[in-house]
């Protein structure tokens, strides 16, 4: 008996669809053992997640609240993936985006609601964009590894926001808590149905549509796809790959930055620590699971939103740390990568074949 690995000529659509579903299933199964080891019944925990996140109007609205920043960040990361560029810094870009929007909300003195919204939006957009643009510039100019730069800049962004809320931007009437003052109504997005759900969700869906059209229907989108699949060929075709790398990382960070705007204007109404509990890292999984499609990003963001809302309730019920969700996300990624192998290759048992 001998184990033989051979490449499949074609991989069926059924296989390509079932592989990610199976990997989430296996990840759930393995995570069950982690839950068991910490003394929680996995079935009860999974039931709790579904009921909390989807079982009521309130639960569903909370899921959409968490889905919103995930869509923005996921779109940003997946845009960079298109060009084989790794933006691991969406977390930091959300923070600087929130910082930019907060600056406008607190200090610009704009009185008109719509003008305020537009100004906050673009402040977040450019702050996030420039933050990621640093990594884009370094990569385009000197081939500096963008994975490490975008990631280290997360730490700097979070510390910078900490500096502001503990120092110059601290609310003078805030009893010395590390928070900025609350935004006035001019600087808040609309909320619906007496829940925390806000119009940022629709902005996120709109962004997904715009990005889809940008990639599929414009020359720039076409260039990004070409550079992503073969950088040398793109250069021979006369495309400016350096500029494109900078531009894509800028746009990628800018979209992630909008999540910061949506969080402070729609949900938190002030800048504070932990404005994002790791949305930027979850975004990497979303982009990878969605296989770079904008619609896929929306669907997977919703699934991850369910997981995050469920994770919060597990914390309340069984005092499980929120970071448990990361362990689960890591497992999904592992099994997803493993399933890719079985899409491309076939494993066969051959009898007696020492010379096969």
């Amino acid at each position: 008996m001998k184990l033989v690995i051979e490449r499949r000529e074609i991989s069926s659509a059924l296989l390509r669809f079932s592989a990610p579903v199976a990997s989430i299933g296996i990840a759930l199964f393995v995570a069950g053992f982690l839950l068991l080891a910490s003394g929680v019944s996995p079935l009860a925990a999974y039931r709790e997640i579904i009921i909390e996140a989807l079982g009521s109007v309130y639960g569903l609205s909370e899921t959409l609240v968490k889905t919103t920043p995930l869509i923005f960040a996921g779109l940003g990361v997946s845009l960079a993936f298109r060009m084989q560029i790794w933006n691991i810094g969406a977390e930091g870009q959300i923070y600087v985006g929130a910082m930019g929007a907060t600056w406008v909300a607190l200090f610009s003195g704009i009185q008109n609601h719509w003008m305020m919204m537009v100004a906050m939006f673009f402040a977040a957009f450019f702050c996030g964009g420039l933050w990621a643009g640093v990594a884009g510039f370094l990569r385009a100019r000197w081939q500096v590894n963008e994975v490490i730069v975008t990631l280290l800049m997360n730490y700097i962004a979070i510390l910078w926001v900490d500096y502001l809320i503990y120092g110059p931007w601290k609310d003078p009437k805030g009893f010395n808590f590390p928070l900025t003052a609350q935004f006035s109504d001019t600087a808040r997005l609309a909320e619906y149905f007496n829940t925390r759900m806000h119009s940022g969700f629709f902005l996120a869906l709109f962004c997904a549509l715009v990005l889809y059209l940008f990639i599929e229907r414009t020359v720039w989108g076409y260039e990004i796809k070409v550079i992503g699949s073969n950088q040398k060929a793109a250069q021979y075709a006369g495309m400016n790959t350096g500029l494109a790398i900078f531009f894509v990382l800028f746009l990628s960070g800018a979209i992630a930055g909008i999540a910061g705007f949506s969080e402070v204007a729609g949900l938190q109404h002030r800048l504070q620590h932990g404005i994002s509990p790791g949305y930027g890292y979850t975004a990497i999984i979303i982009a990878w699971l969605a296989k770079r499609s904008a619609i896929g990003v929306v669907i997977v963001s919703f699934l991850m939103g369910v997981l995050l809302v469920g994770g919060d309730s597990l914390q309340l019920l069984w005092q499980l740390p929120v970071a448990f969700v990361y362990a689960f996300q890591g497992l999904i990624l592992f099994f997803l990568l493993a399933s890719d192998f079985f899409i491309i290759y076939r494993v066969k048992l051959i009898k007696g074949g020492a010379h096969a």
Partner: protein, 306 residues
């Protein structure tokens, strides 16, 4: 004053040194490992719990090595056997490490152990200025000096080291010469991960003898960047790790002196300098002969051989 600063430099640099050496072993075999941050956390928790339950620091260090060896074998399985994307697999390992240590570490928060204590080496520790910093330290620090030498010796004086280097430079050629690419890569990823784990254990057994959630605080990522600064050489890794130890030590010293500069701004310095050093060393890499392993980041499939 200088003596204290140098001492703090070595102590702050040691966990990064172990992690950088581990990452170098990975990358020499051609495998990028972005799981370093997660592995450090796993090592820190494994080392702390094993020491807490056994009462022995040696058991803690061995446990840290073994547990991260196993955690690293997931990365090896995905990237070597299953030819998966190395960057995504590494990120998955980091996420998994952050999550799983938070989960299992919850019960260990607040417990204390007796950590590594200083052992002065007679004679050498009397050398002015550097004596105290390098020869009045704990056993793990002495082990890190030895490891720097051992890694060099392994790569340049043993057949196994040659094998690891060749599967990293040119896996097709190494395969033709009869080196098993998967075996050497699997070996490098798992053993390298094990040393990263010891770096994590240094945090929970020597730096601050306790377990704190997410206690590696980005040191794993600094190590990943230092591999490039070090040009994949173990001696230069030592230089790089102490450079960052020095920045951390100075930053802490500033805070202790009660400076008016915000602590948050000072804490940014190590990350900021890492980026700066990364830019400079990448720039140098482009100009001179590149020491980067040729096959870095590429999965090997015999059928693709040209």
């Amino acid at each position: 004053m200088l003596e204290i600063l140098l001492d703090a430099t070595v102590r702050a640099g040691t966990p990064i040194l172990f992690a950088t050496l581990g990452a170098i072993i990975n990358e020499r075999a051609g495998i990028i490992n972005l799981g370093i941050e997660g592995l450090m956390l796993i090592g820190a928790l494994a080392g702390f719990s094993a020491t807490y339950f056994s009462g022995s620091l040696l058991v803690g260090v061995v446990a840290a090595f073994c547990v991260t060896f196993i955690a690293g074998s997931f990365h090896a399985l995905i990237t070597v056997q299953l030819r998966g994307n190395q960057i995504v697999s590494g990120l998955a390992l980091t996420m998994f490490g952050v999550g799983v240590t938070a989960l299992f570490g919850k019960g260990m928060v607040g417990l204390t152990i007796v950590g590594f204590e200083r052992v002065a080496i007679p004679g050498l520790s009397q050398i002015p200025i550097i004596g105290k910093a390098f020869f009045n330290q704990d056993m793990l620090i002495y082990f890190s000096f030895l490891l720097v030498f051992l890694v060099w010796f392994f790569f340049y004086r043993t057949r196994w080291g040659l094998g690891v280097r060749s599967v990293g430079e040119n896996p097709a050629a190494a395969d033709t010469c009869g080196f098993s690419v998967s075996l050497y890569r699997f070996f490098a990823v798992t053993v390298g991960s094990g040393f990263v784990g010891i770096g994590g254990a240094y945090l929970s057994l020597a730096s601050t003898p306790m377990w704190i959630e997410n206690m590696s605080a980005g040191r794993g990522w600094i190590a990943v960047a230092l591999v490039i600064f070090a040009g994949w050489s173990s001696q230069r890794a030592m230089l790089g790790a102490y450079l960052f130890g020095g920045i951390t030590a100075m930053q802490l010293r500033f805070q202790a002196m009660g400076t008016t500069i915000s602590a948050h701004i000072l804490q940014m310095l190590p990350y900021f300098f890492t980026i700066l050093v990364l830019v400079i060393s990448t720039h140098r890499l482009q100009k001179g002969a590149s020491q980067q392993p040729e096959g870095l980041g590429l999965p090997y499939d015999r059928e693709d051989r040209k």
